[in-house]
Structure formats: structure tokens, C-alpha cells
């Protein structure tokens, strides 16, 4: 290097900067077909799969400047291929622009293909550098195509609508929001089962609309069953993913009344005893008293408060028990109990890992719920 002159040295460095950068590609925005949702379904031929790309019809999108030109906002392109990537590339046969998946919002898996095992079809979306893993995964109750075809109100782009539907789940905590990344993480774990929300098409007076309802539970990558809303919240309590939600309590001889969850924290402690594995689930719940009641409760009074807390504990406990019961019946460790045992008893785990499927249904669970009522929205007595 000593003998190379400075300008030459400098230009070598400069060239190296540009050559060593790796791949790059420029796309003008108006040459892209923006995909907002991908769906996978079974195809007619058994060895093929059907891919649905929901492409934005950019000219029909209304902005502040111009109103919509009329016509569909999105265009669902369905194409079959031997693999997902094959189908994705086949998309160019019927669509003039290159599919641009960087901004897709939702991955819809058809029920049929989910039952057959879905990971080989989703793997491409994990591998492709362009597609992000923060998208939500939902399972269609039926064909993915049917879900993606529904014309939605308020948000005309169907893919975004479903994504937002998943995002507002926290209001009830009766549905799960599983990103593709989470989905894969659970799948990779040897014992934990993965799950995803279910989206249904409901028909009322001939108008189709979408509904987020329940949770699809997978055993490895195969769909094996569903949790309903109550069970789903039980699941969320155990995996400590509750953001908000309404707990309806019904003290005896008194009407229903609702508590809003403000904060929830769960501690799951595994224990290996002589009788087998036991999981201690400890839920600490902070709620607001939200009224909706016939019989007025004054939560500033200790008796009233304790009564409500007692019943709230009961409701939460029931939900968790229901979830565990269902999971046991499906023999799917959606709670990640296996991982918890692995963390606490790494030595014993080695013997348990291979036969976790036979251990899991016999796990004993002790549930402790502690509810506190922190506020009554500044109303102590009804006027």
C-alpha cells in the first residue's frame, strides 16, 4: 500500500464503498402494486396452493384533495402455484406491476389449508426480506378469499380493516392479536402451541361484514380447534397479555354490574411435585367500577368493594379454568407452560420434553386471583 499514490488509494476506497454494498434496487412508487393483504388457500389441485394478493387500486382511493373515482378500492388477485413464491411470481401474469409487499398488513390463512398444516406456505413470508413479520396473522373461518372479498365500511381497504379490527381487540381482550413473528416464535418452541385470531364473514340482510371471533389453536402447524371469547380471555390472562376489557360480575340476588380492567399482571410459577407438574397462576387485577347496575354499589365502602372483588375473582378464575380445560382437551400447550418449566427446571426438563404431550393434560393448576377496585369514576352515590 505504501507505493500506491494517494488519489488512487482514495478512488479504490470509493469504488469499494459502492461495490461492496450488496443488493439494491430502486422502484418508482407509481410502478408498484401495493399489496395490503396476503391470503393463502387450498387450490383445486391438491398439490398446488392458491395465493390471494390484495392490491390497492390507487386511483380509486379518496384523499383530502380528490374524491374517489368510483370503483373498487382494492383488487384481489388470486393465483395458483406449486409453492407460495411460485404463485407470487405468477402474479405478474395477470398484474402489470410488481407486487410490493412491504406494506402488507395482514396474513389471512384459509381454514382448510390451516387444517392441513400451514407452515410450508407461510415460510416464504418469513424469509422474504421485503415482507415484514409484524403483520397480524388471522385464520379465516372458511376461505381466505371470502374474507378478503368483503367490502368494509369506514376503512375501505379490506386488509387494513382487518388489521385494525385486530388492533382494537384490547377493548375486550376476548380475541388475540398474534403477529407473524409471535406466531413463528410459538411454532418454533417444541412444546408451546401457536394460535391466531379467527375472522368470520357474517351476513346480515344480505350485507356481508367481518367479525373477529375466537381463537384458532394449532398443534404444531395444524389447526386443531377453537377457543371461544371467554376461553380466549382466560388464555390471555395466563400469558399476561390483557390490556383492557370488561368483567361482568353478577353477585347473587343482585343485578349484573361491570368492572373495567385497568391493569393486569400474571405470574406463572411451575412446580414439580410428587404428583406431577403443578402450575401456580397468580393474577393481580386492577379494575375500575363501571356501574351499569340496578343495585347500586358504593365502592368506597369496604363491604361493597369486597363483594364485587370476590365475584370478579370468581369470573376471572372461571375464564382461566375454561381456557385450561379446553387446551387440555385439545392437548395444546397454548400457555407456554412447557417453556416455563424449562426455564425453572432445566435439568428435569430434559426427561419431560419428549413426552410433554402426555404430561400436559395432567398438569395441576392452582389459580389465585386478586382483584382491586381503584376507582368509580368519581361517582360514589347516584343522585
Amino acid at each position: 500500500m505504501k507505493y500506491i499514490r494517494k488519489p488512487i488509494k482514495l478512488s479504490i476506497i470509493l469504488l469499494a464503498l459502492f461495490v461492496l454494498a450488496g443488493c439494491w434496487n430502486s422502484n418508482e412508487m407509481n410502478d408498484l402494486a401495493i399489496v395490503t393483504a396476503f391470503g393463502v388457500d387450498t387450490a383445486e389441485k391438491p398439490d398446488e396452493i392458491s395465493l390471494i394478493g390484495q392490491i390497492i387500486n390507487i386511483r380509486n382511493i379518496a384523499t383530502a384533495e380528490k374524491s374517489a373515482a368510483g370503483g373498487d378500492v382494492f383488487w384481489n388477485v388470486e393465483i395458483t402455484g406449486e409453492t407460495v413464491f411460485d404463485a407470487l411470481r405468477n402474479l405478474t401474469f395477470i398484474n402489470n406491476r410488481k407486487a410490493f409487499g412491504h406494506h402488507y398488513q395482514i396474513l389471512v390463512v384459509g381454514k382448510e389449508i390451516a387444517e392441513k398444516g400451514v407452515i410450508k406456505d407461510l415460510e416464504h413470508f418469513a424469509r422474504d426480506h421485503g415482507d415484514r413479520r409484524t403483520v397480524w396473522v388471522v385464520v379465516a373461518d372458511g376461505k381466505a378469499k371470502d374474507v378478503l372479498d368483503v367490502k368494509t365500511e369506514l376503512e375501505p381497504i379490506n386488509g387494513r380493516y382487518i388489521a385494525q379490527l385486530v388492533e382494537v381487540r384490547t377493548a375486550t381482550s376476548k380475541a388475540v392479536g398474534v403477529t407473524f413473528q409471535n406466531f413463528l416464535q410459538r411454532y418454533i418452541s417444541k412444546t408451546t402451541s401457536t394460535f391466531a385470531s379467527i375472522v368470520r364473514v357474517i351476513k346480515k340482510n344480505g350485507v356481508e361484514s367481518l367479525e373477529l371471533n375466537g381463537t384458532a389453536v394449532f398443534k404444531k402447524d395444524k389447526l386443531v380447534g377453537e377457543l371461544n371469547g371467554k376461553e380466549t380471555r382466560g388464555l390471555l390472562f395466563v400469558i399476561d397479555d390483557i390490556k383492557s376489557g370488561i368483567i361482568v360480575v353478577e353477585p347473587e340476588n343482585q343485578g349484573k354490574t361491570s368492572l373495567e380492567i385497568n391493569k393486569s399482571g400474571t405470574k406463572v410459577t411451575p412446580k414439580i411435585t410428587d404428583n406431577g407438574v403443578q402450575m401456580d397462576i397468580e393474577v393481580k387485577l386492577k379494575t375500575y367500577y363501571a356501574g351499569d347496575t340496578e343495585d347500586f354499589f358504593n365502592v368506597t365502602k369496604k363491604e361493597d368493594r369486597e363483594l364485587l372483588q370476590l365475584y370478579a375473582n370468581k369470573v376471572v378464575k372461571e375464564e382461566i379454568e375454561a381456557a385450561i380445560k379446553k387446551a387440555k382437551s385439545l392437548n395444546t400447550d397454548v400457555f407456554g407452560f412447557g417453556d416455563a418449566v424449562h426455564r425453572k427446571y432445566p435439568k428435569q426438563w430434559k426427561g419431560m420434553e419428549s413426552n410433554w404431550d402426555s404430561i400436559f393434560p395432567d398438569i395441576k393448576v392452582s389459580i389465585k386471583v386478586e382483584t382491586s377496585i381503584d376507582s368509580s369514576f368519581n361517582i360514589t352515590e347516584l343522585p
Binding site: 494517494k6 488519489p7 482514495l10 464503498l17 459502492f18 454494498a21 439494491w24 434496487n25 430502486s26 422502484n27 418508482e28 412508487m29 407509481n30 408498484l32 401495493i34 390497492i56 390507487i58 386511483r59 382511493i61 384523499t63 384533495e65 410490493f100 412491504h102 406494506h103 398488513q105 421485503g130 415484514r132 381497504i157 387494513r160
Partner: protein
């Protein structure tokens, strides 16, 4: 790379050295003779056909025996001074003291010491110097039989009054600005700093213009090495004319190949005074209100005198805004181009949809679009600056309509691009000093960003930063206090610390005496 180019240019310079002295003054020193007629004819010959060159001859003495001649340039002298303080005493009042004259004293000494009532009078024997002083507005008096002439200071000409400068406008702070007159400029500084250590050293630069240049500094604060360096560089200048301080700036700057200027300037005496009080040297040039200050640091361009006059909290915020706007004015269009052509995935999805809708149907690539828009903006700006004011307004209307409305309406340019360009344009007005370098960098970065994306912009940014940190201004690192990092000087960088905290002068400038105020100057309650 710049060094490489520099070496080449130095080589070229060596070859052309022979031509260098073509402007050298033909200096044959002519001394005055005892014969006044001869002297007058020599001066007449030199001044030639000049119509404004006035020669006034008259006699002094009882017997009108002493011949006297006055020379001056019409319009550059104060006529009342000549009439009242030179001609009247000599031609009329002298009769009152005729006895003295007859005592055969040295007449010219008598005239200097007792008769002419003007402050500045000097004796001079060289005709060249006499003519030179005549050309600067002095009156020259020759007395028969003496080989010395009197230079009487009568300079006065029509000058602009002290006004508020058009640039460097402040809300709070003094309104006065420098004028074209060097004397009034030095006075303006002297009025700010009442200290015998404030030194003005005079120089003349320019073979033909003989422009007066003053080097101003405060003894005991300034690093003497900087003063010596300034003198050395000014002494090296061999040029026929210095019409503005820009001539000097370009001939003494450290990095003539850099986009960034390494010489600061100001039009306001308070700013120059403040800079001198921090240990800088000011170079005042006759004929221009722009005073140069060296050394200049990169961060200086973000400072305004008002930063120190107003309270520190808002001013610190404004400083941050200024830094931000330089970054915006250089990088906004290129980053926008890079994002829309390479990195669409980093744009938030709702924004991406809006942008995609706006881009739909526009015919040109984003890079070209940005380039054309920025060039159009530069054209409009230049037109706005140069055109007479009434026409300038028409330009801005056309510009606003053409760029803002019509191009978007016609679908030639996407509306986010217009917003980005407008933001860039506004941001570029904030940093006046680096505005010109920012304009060029902006175009370079648009091209890099359009070809290589954010990767290219990063490389470009690294190059610019490496270049900036390699610069020096009169021995002081240009990018101080960031690189080299001087923690104590950060008080007056991106933020402006309260005055009671800034007890010391900036260490970056290596002042001889760094104490500015007593430590712990926090205002106290009694």
C-alpha cells in the same frame, strides 16, 4: 483529493509566476524640489487631465513674497475647512501676526504650528505620497522654497448614514450597522469596547485601489499567533483592487477548495465586538459594511446576536431549530427521493398510501422531479434577489402559482414533493452563512440519493463530516467544539447556556485570558 487538485494548481502557478508582477506599481520616488513652479508642473503632469483636481495658488507675506499652492480633489474635501481654516488664516488673519512672519522663522513650521487650524497635519517630502494623500481626500499645501509639503486632513465626502442592516435583522438588540466608511466603522466598534487594549492596525491593500484595511483585536484576549497569521496572510495579498471584503476573504481563507467558508463576517458592530471579545480578529475594509472575523467555527453560523440578548431557554430552542433547518435544507429532498424510490417500507403505512396516491400518474422519476423543483426554486430565489423590488413581487406570485398550484394540478409533480421543496426552501433561508454551500450540497445529495438511496446519502454525509472536521480556520479546528470535542464550549453550541454559566471565553479559540465573568454569577437575592 482536494490536496491533489491543489498540488496541480500550485504547479500551474509556478509556471505563470513571471506574469505576476504586471500590476506592480511603477514607483520612482520623486522628491520635492525647492522650486515651487517645478513642483507644480510635476504634479500637474502626474495628475494629467483630471478635471476634479484643483490647484489653488496664492501669496503669503507682507510683500506677497511667499508663494503657496493648495491641491485637492473636488468633492472629497470639506470646502468650509479649506476656506475657514486654511485660506482665511493664511490670506487674512496672518496680517495680525505679520511681525512673526518677518522674523525669518521656518515658514512652513510656522504655518503648521500657528496658522492652519486643522487637527491632522503632517509634513511629507515625497511627491508620490503627497498625491496619494491628495487622492484620499486630504489637501496638500506646497510652500515655495521648501522641499516638504503639508498634508492637511480635510477628507469629507458624501457617505451613507448609519442604518439598520438589511441582513442580520434582530428583534432585540442594537439597530446600527456598519457603513462603507472605515473610520465610522472603527468608531462604531470603539464605542462598544472602551478599552485601550482594543487595537486597530492599519494597512493598505490593492495596488490601484489602496484600500484601507484595519486589523482589529483586543490585546490580552486574542491569541497573538492568530493576529500574526492574519497579518502574514494580508501581507501576502498582491492584487490591483480590493473593492469589497470578499476579495480579502477569498485570498486569505484556509480552504479555498471547500464549499464551506472559513471566514466569518458581520454587518453589525455589536456582533463584531462580541466576536473580538471572544478572541477573534476583525478585518475591517474600507468601502464595505461587511467586516470579516477570523477564525470562524462551523457553529458560528447558527449564532445570532439576539441569542445572547434574550433569555436562554427559548434561544436554546431556536438554536436547535437552526441546526435542524440546515439539516432539512440539505437533506430533506434527497431523503425524500431515497425513501420514495428505495425504502418505501420505512414510510408509515397510512402516509405511504397518501404518497402513493399523490405519485400516481406523475410522469417523471422522483429524483428528476426533485432536481427540477429545486433548480426552479433556485431560479426563483435568484430572480427575487436581483430584480427590482416591484418586479420581485410579480416573480413570487408567478413562482407560487407555477410551482405550488399548476404543476400539481396538471399532475406533473406530486404534491408531497412540493411540500418537501417548500420546506427545504424555507429552511434554507435560516442559515444564511451556509446557505450557499447547502444549495450545492442539496443538489449533489439529490443525485446520490436518487441513485444509491439512503446508503448513498450516508456515504455522502460521512464525506461531508470528514471534510468539515478536517478544515481549519487560522489554526483553529473548524468543527470545534464537536470535533475536537470541547465539553466546556458546548455551553454555547447547540444550546445557549445562561449567561451566568458562561464564565469563560470559548476554549476552542485559545484566548490568552479566558475569564469572562466571575465564577458563580448566578443572580442572587439580597
Amino acid at each position: 483529493m482536494f490536496k491533489f487538485v491543489k498540488n496541480k494548481i500550485n504547479a500551474i502557478k509556478l509556471f505563470s509566476k513571471n506574469n505576476e508582477d504586471s500590476n506592480k506599481e511603477i514607483k520612482v520616488d520623486i522628491k520635492l524640489t525647492t522650486n515651487i513652479d517645478k513642483n507644480i508642473s510635476i504634479i500637474k503632469e502626474i495628475m494629467g487631465l483630471n478635471k476634479d483636481f484643483i490647484i489653488r495658488e496664492f501669496f503669503l507675506g507682507e510683500r506677497k513674497s511667499i508663494r503657496i499652492a493648495l491641491f485637492y480633489i473636488d468633492g472629497m474635501v470639506e470646502k468650509t475647512t479649506i476656506n475657514q481654516s486654511i485660506l482665511k488664516p493664511l490670506m487674512y488673519d496672518v496680517w495680525m501676526i505679520k511681525s512673526d512672519i518677518n522674523q525669518n522663522l521656518n515658514t512652513i513650521e510656522t504655518i503648521k504650528k500657528t496658522i492652519v487650524s486643522v487637527g491632522d497635519i503632517e509634513l511629507e517630502s515625497s511627491i508620490n505620497l503627497l498625491i496619494e494623500s491628495c487622492l484620499t481626500g486630504n489637501t496638500v499645501m506646497l510652500v515655495d522654497k521648501y522641499t516638504e509639503g503639508l498634508v492637511i486632513s480635510t477628507a469629507a465626502w458624501v457617505a451613507r448614514a448609519i442604518e439598520e442592516p438589511k441582513t442580520e435583522v434582530v428583534v432585540r438588540g442594537p439597530r446600527e450597522g456598519f457603513t462603507e466608511n472605515i473610520t465610522s466603522n472603527t468608531v462604531l466598534i470603539r464605542r462598544k469596547i472602551c478599552d485601550p487594549n482594543l487595537i486597530f492596525e492599519a494597512m493598505k491593500i490593492g495596488v490601484r485601489t489602496k484600500t484601507k484595511v484595519a486589523i482589529a483585536y483586543i490585546n490580552g484576549i486574542v491569541d497573538k499567533k492568530i493576529v500574526d497569521e492574519v497579518k502574514l496572510r494580508l501581507g501576502r495579498i498582491k492584487i490591483d483592487a480590493v473593492l469589497e471584503s470578499g476579495y480579502i476573504e477569498q485570498l486569505i481563507e484556509d480552504a479555498p477548495f471547500s464549499l464551506f467558508t472559513t471566514v466569518g463576517n458581520s454587518e453589525k458592530p455589536d456582533v463584531v465586538a462580541a466576536k473580538m471579545l471572544e478572541g477573534r480578529v476583525a478585518i475591517i475594509t474600507d468601502g464595505t459594511p461587511i467586516v470579516l472575523t477570523v477564525p470562524m467555527l462551523f457553529g458560528e453560523s447558527f449564532h445570532s446576536s439576539e441569542d445572547y440578548y434574550s433569555r436562554p431557554y427559548y434561544m436554546s430552542f431556536v438554536r436547535i431549530i437552526r441546526y435542524l433547518s440546515l439539516i432539512i435544507s440539505i437533506f430533506a429532498p434527497s431523503v425524500f427521493v431515497a425513501l420514495t424510490t428505495f425504502h418505501q417500507e420505512v414510510i408509515p403505512t397510512p402516509l405511504f398510501f397518501t404518497m402513493a396516491v399523490a405519485r400516481e400518474g406523475t410522469p417523471f422519476p422522483a429524483m428528476l422531479e426533485a432536481f427540477v423543483m429545486i433548480v426552479t426554486f433556485e431560479i426563483l430565489r435568484e430572480a427575487g434577489v436581483r430584480l427590482p423590488r416591484p418586479v420581485g413581487q410579480a416573480i413570487s406570485i408567478v413562482g407560487a402559482l407555477v410551482i405550488g398550484e399548476a404543476t400539481v394540478q396538471a399532475g406533473i409533480v406530486s404534491s408531497p414533493m412540493v411540500i418537501v421543496v417548500a420546506l427545504t426552501a424555507i429552511a434554507s433561508f435560516i442559515s444564511v452563512v451556509h446557505g450557499d454551500s447547502a444549495s450545492i450540497l442539496r443538489l449533489i445529495f439529490i443525485i446520490i440519493g436518487g441513485i444509491l438511496g439512503a446508503y448513498g446519502i450516508t456515504i455522502g454525509l460521512i464525506f461531508v463530516l470528514v471534510h468539515l472536521t478536517s478544515l481549519r480556520s487560522f489554526g483553529i479546528p473548524y468543527f470545534a467544539p464537536f470535533a475536537p470535542f470541547v465539553a466546556s464550549d458546548l455551553k454555547d453550541s447547540i444550546i445557549r447556556a445562561p449567561l451566568w454559566l458562561m464564565n469563560r471565553r470559548p476554549y476552542s479559540l485559545r484566548p490568552e485570558n479566558s475569564q469572562r465573568e466571575k465564577a458563580n454569577s448566578l443572580p442572587q437575592k439580597q
